[in-house]
C-alpha cells in the first residue's frame, strides 16, 4: 500500500502564502475600499478629538448604547485599533507591491531595449519605403535628441522611451509612505497646547502655562521652544449687518529666546507665528470682565480679569468668579453681554459681538466653594450644591453691587485670545510626500511608454512601433520620426 505524501506547508510556507495574499492587487483593492468605508462613521458620529461635549451627551442620553459604541471605538474612529489595522495592512500591502516593482524598474532601466522583432509588418504603425542608406544614422540622432534609449544591432535600431510612467507611479506610492511617516512623527513627537491670555498679559512657553496640553508618546518637554509672547493689543471687527466677524488682528511682542530683544509682530487667523517647527495660532477670542471683590472686612479678596467663555456668535459669555480668600467664601456665577438687550423669550441676550453696551449679570453664592477638597473643577463653573444664593444683579462698568458679606465692583473688561501652540516635527515630511505624490501621479497618468523600431532590409526601410497600455499619440510621433529620417523638411 502506497502512502500518499502530502507536502507540508510548514510555517515558512504559510508565511509566504499570507504574504502573497496580502500583497495581491485584489487584497489591496479590498483594503482601499475598507479604508474609505471605515472612515465614514467618524464623520457622522461625534469624535472625542473634535467634539467632546457631543460625545458626553451621547453618554448621558443613552449610556448603554454609548458604552457599546465606545467598545468599538466609534468615538475615536481614526485612532481605533480596527481603523489602524486597515491602514497598516494597506501600507504593508503597498510596500509589498511597490518594492519588487522598484527592483524590476531598476533592472529594466539598466538593460537595453528588447531586440527588434523579426516581423515588423505585423506590428502597429508599420511603414516601409525605399531608402537611401542614411536612415539609420539619422534615426540614431533623432532617438538621442528625443531621449530614447537605443539598442543598436546589425541593420536595425530598437528604441524605447517612457519609463517616467512607471517611475512616477512608484514615486507616487513611495510618497504615500512618506506622508504616513510624517503623520506618525507628528503624533509621536508633537504637542498641542492651548492658553487663554488676556490683553496685557505675558505667555511663557512652558508646560505649566497651558490651560490644556496634549503631546505625543515620545515628546520631550525640553524640546519646547523657550519663547514668550506678550499680548499688546487685540482688535476684532464685525460686520454691522450680519454680525459675522470681518477681521481679527492680534499684536504681540515676542521674545524668541531668553535674553533676546522683544519684537512686535502681528498674528491673524491665517498667519500664525513661527518658531522652527512650532507655530502659534490665534484660535479664539472673548472677554474677561475685570472685577474687584471685597469681603465682610472690607479687604480686597480678588482683583483682576476673569476670562469668560463665549456661547454664541454675539459673544454672550459665561464664567465663574471665585473668591476663596474672602471671609466668608463667595462665588459669582456670571454672564457677560457685550451689547445688552432684554428679549421676551430668552431673558438677557447680546445682540452684537462688540462691546457697545456691556453688562455683567451676576448671581452671588455664599458658602464652601469646594476648592480645598482637592477635587478638580472647572474654572468656568461653580458647584453650588452646598452654597446659598443671596443676590442677583446686572452691572454696568464702574458699578458696584453690595450684598450682605461684601461687595463686587465691575471695573471694566479686557479682550482675551486663545493662543494655540502646535509643534509638529513631521509636517514637512508630509508636505514633501504630498508634492511628490502629485508629481508622481501626473507622470504616471500622462507619460506614455512606447517603442519604435527601424530596420534596413537591403534598400528597404521598415519602421514600426508599440504603445504600452494603448497610450495615444504614437501615431503622430512615428510620423514625425519618419519625416525626420526621410530628410524632409
Amino acid at each position: 500500500m502506497e502512502q500518499q505524501i502530502i507536502p507540508e506547508i510548514g510555517s515558512l510556507g504559510l508565511l509566504r502564502f499570507v504574504w502573497r495574499q496580502l500583497t495581491s492587487m485584489r487584497t489591496a483593492l479590498v483594503l482601499l475600499m475598507l479604508l474609505g468605508i471605515g472612515a465614514i462613521p467618524g464623520s457622522l458620529i461625534p469624535q472625542r478629538s473634535q467634539n467632546p461635549m457631543e460625545v458626553s451627551k451621547y453618554f448621558t442620553d443613552s449610556p448603554t448604547l454609548a458604552t457599546w459604541m465606545d467598545r468599538f471605538s466609534l468615538f475615536d474612529v481614526y485612532a481605533s485599533p480596527w481603523f489602524s489595522a486597515i491602514y497598516i495592512l494597506l501600507f504593508i500591502s503597498l510596500i509589498g507591491c511597490v518594492l519588487p516593482r522598484t527592483f524590476e524598474l531598476y533592472k529594466a532601466s539598466r538593460a537595453l531595449p528588447p531586440e527588434t522583432p523579426k516581423n515588423l509588418s505585423r506590428l502597429e504603425f508599420y511603414q516601409a519605403w525605399e531608402g537611401n542608406g542614411s536612415e539609420l544614422e539619422l534615426a540614431s540622432t533623432w532617438f538621442q535628441k528625443n531621449h530614447f534609449r537605443i539598442r543598436i544591432s546589425d541593420g536595425s535600431l530598437s528604441a524605447e522611451k517612457g519609463f517616467l510612467r512607471e517611475t512616477g507611479n512608484l514615486f507616487f506610492h513611495l510618497a504615500l509612505i512618506l506622508i504616513l511617516i510624517g503623520v506618525s512623527l507628528g503624533s509621536l513627537y508633537g504637542m498641542k497646547g492651548d492658553a487663554i491670555v488676556n490683553k496685557g498679559e505675558r505667555f511663557i512657553n512652558t508646560p505649566t502655562s497651558f490651560d490644556s496640553i496634549t503631546y505625543g508618546k515620545l515628546f520631550n518637554e525640553s524640546s519646547l521652544s523657550p519663547f514668550s509672547i506678550t499680548v499688546e493689543d487685540f482688535i476684532a471687527k464685525y460686520d454691522p449687518v450680519t454680525n459675522a466677524p470681518k477681521d481679527y488682528v492680534l499684536t504681540v511682542s515676542v521674545i524668541s529666546k531668553p535674553g533676546a530683544t522683544p519684537e512686535l509682530k502681528t498674528v491673524r487667523v491665517n498667519s500664525p507665528l513661527t518658531f522652527g517647527s512650532t507655530r502659534v495660532y490665534l484660535q479664539a477670542n472673548g472677554y474677561s470682565p475685570v472685577v474687584t471683590v471685597r469681603d465682610s472686612t472690607g479687604a480686597v479678596a480678588l482683583q483682576g480679569p476673569i476670562p469668560f467663555l463665549p456661547q454664541d456668535g454675539n459673544l454672550r459669555s459665561i464664567g465663574a468668579i471665585k473668591a476663596p480668600d474672602a471671609i466668608p467664601q463667595v462665588g459669582f456665577v456670571g454672564s457677560f453681554l457685550p451689547t445688552y438687550e432684554r428679549s421676551k423669550g430668552n431673558g438677557a441676550i447680546s445682540v452684537f459681538p462688540e462691546p457697545l453696551d456691556p453688562r455683567l449679570l451676576l448671581s452671588v453664592w455664599l458658602g464652601d466653594l469646594g476648592l480645598d477638597s482637592g477635587r478638580p473643577q472647572s474654572v468656568y463653573r461653580i458647584d453650588t450644591s452646598v452654597m446659598r444664593q443671596i443676590g442677583l444683579k446686572a452691572l454696568k462698568p464702574g458699578q458696584t453691587f453690595t450684598y450682605t458679606g461684601g461687595s463686587i465692583t465691575f471695573e471694566g473688561f479686557l479682550p482675551w485670545v486663545n493662543l494655540q501652540v502646535v509643534r509638529d516635527p513631521g509636517k514637512s515630511y508630509a508636505l514633501a510626500g504630498g508634492i511628490v505624490a502629485i508629481l508622481g501621479l501626473l507622470a504616471s497618468l500622462f507619460a506614455r511608454r512606447r517603442r519604435i523600431w527601424i530596420r534596413i532590409n537591403g534598400s528597404q526601410i521598415e519602421v514600426a512601433g508599440l504603445a504600452k497600455n494603448g497610450a495615444p499619440g504614437l501615431h503622430d510621433e512615428i510620423a514625425e520620426f519618419v519625416t525626420a529620417i526621410k530628410g524632409e523638411k
Partner: protein, 304 residues
C-alpha cells in the same frame, strides 16, 4: 457700488438661467423631433410601425442648443465674476456662491469635453441639471453679498476651492457618462437599442470616456486635498484633523483611487467599473450637499 455689482450678478445669473432654459428646450426638440413617422406610402411594405430617426432634420436646432449653452456659460461666468467684484473677493464664500460656481464648472466641463468628443446627446441632461442647481441656488441658498470671515481670508481660498470645484464638475460629468453607460447597457441586453438611442456613442466609447475624465482630473483632486491641508495648517493649526468635510474628501479620493486601480491593474471594465465610478462620484455629492448643509465641523461656510 458693491450693491450695483451684486444686482448685476443676480441679473446675469437670471439671464443665464433663461438661456440655459432655451438650450434645454432646443436639446429636447432635437431629441424628440428627429423622429420621423412612417409615410403613408411605406405602409404597403408592412413596416407601418417602424419609426426612424433623421437627425438631419434637427441638426440646425442642435447647433442652436449648443450655442445657447455657450451663451449661458458666458453669462453665468460673468455673473460669478460680478458676484466676486461685489464682495471684493473670490465668489466662494457661501453655499449660494459654491453652487453657481459649481454649475459653471459642470457646464464648462461639458463644453470642454464637447470640443473633443461627440457629447451633444448629453446636452439635455447637462442643461436641466445646471438649471436645477441654479434654481436651488437662487431660491433656497441665496445670501446677500458679504465679506469673508477671517478664516477664509487667504490666497489658498482661490487655489483650494477652485481646484475642488473644477474636479467636482468633471467628476459629475464622468458620473453622467457612467450612468448613461449603465442605462444603454441595460437597454442593449434587453434586445437592442431603441431608435432614439442609436445615435448615442457605443458602449466602449462611454466606458473609456468616463475613465479618461476621472484619470484626467484625479491629480487635480489630489492637489485640492493637499492644498486644503496646507491651508488648514496655517488657519487651524493642523493639516489634517478628520473634520467631516476632510473625511469625505478623503473617502472620495480613496474611492476614485480604487476605481483607477480596478481599471488599470485589475482590468475592470463595463458595468462593474461604471458602478464604482458612480459610487465615487456620489461620495463627492454627499460631501457637497449633506456635509455643507447638515454637517458639523470647521467647513461650515454655507451661510445657511
Amino acid at each position: 457700488m458693491s450693491q450695483t455689482w451684486a444686482y448685476l450678478s443676480n441679473y446675469l445669473v437670471y439671464s443665464a438661467m433663461g438661456v440655459y432654459t432655451l438650450s434645454f428646450f432646443a436639446h429636447a426638440y432635437e431629441t424628440a423631433w428627429a423622429v420621423r413617422t412612417p409615410e403613408s406610402s411605406d405602409s404597403t411594405e408592412g413596416n407601418l410601425l417602424t419609426k426612424t430617426l433623421d437627425y438631419k432634420r434637427t441638426e440646425k436646432v442642435a447647433r442652436i442648443a449648443t450655442a445657447f449653452m455657450i451663451l449661458g456659460f458666458i453669462l453665468l461666468f460673468a455673473g460669478v465674476i460680478a458676484r466676486g467684484v461685489s464682495a471684493g473677493r473670490v465668489p466662494w464664500g457661501n453655499m449660494y456662491e459654491f453652487s453657481i460656481t459649481g454649475a459653471l464648472a459642470f457646464s464648462g466641463a461639458y463644453l470642454g469635453a464637447l470640443r473633443k468628443y461627440d457629447l451633444r446627446w448629453l446636452g439635455l441632461f447637462v442643461s436641466i441639471s445646471v438649471l436645477l442647481t441654479l434654481g436651488t441656488a437662487v431660491a433656497v441658498l441665496y445670501r446677500p453679498s458679504a465679506p469673508l470671515v477671517p478664516a477664509l481670508k487667504s490666497t489658498w481660498l482661490v487655489i483650494h476651492v477652485s481646484a475642488a470645484i473644477i474636479s467636482g464638475g468633471v467628476f459629475l460629468l464622468a458620473n453622467v457618462v457612467a450612468a448613461s453607460y449603465l442605462y444603454l447597457e441595460n437597454m442593449e441586453s434587453k434586445g437592442g437599442r431603441k431608435e432614439w438611442a442609436k445615435r448615442l456613442p457605443a458602449l466602449e466609447v462611454l466606458d473609456q470616456l468616463s475613465y479618461r475624465l476621472v484619470a484626467f482630473v484625479f491629480p487635480l483632486w489630489t492637489f485640492a486635498v493637499i492644498a486644503g491641508a496646507i491651508w488648514a495648517e496655517s488657519a487651524w493649526g493642523r493639516y489634517w484633523g478628520w473634520d467631516p468635510k476632510e473625511t469625505w474628501a478623503f473617502i472620495t479620493w480613496v474611492a476614485y483611487a480604487a476605481y483607477l486601480h480596478a481599471r488599470v491593474t485589475v482590468g475592470w471594465r463595463g458595468k462593474k467599473a461604471a458602478w464604482l465610478c458612480i459610487f465615487a462620484g456620489s461620495t463627492f455629492l454627499f460631501n457637497y450637499i449633506y456635509i455643507n448643509v447638515w454637517g458639523t465641523g470647521k467647513h461650515t461656510y454655507s451661510g445657511l
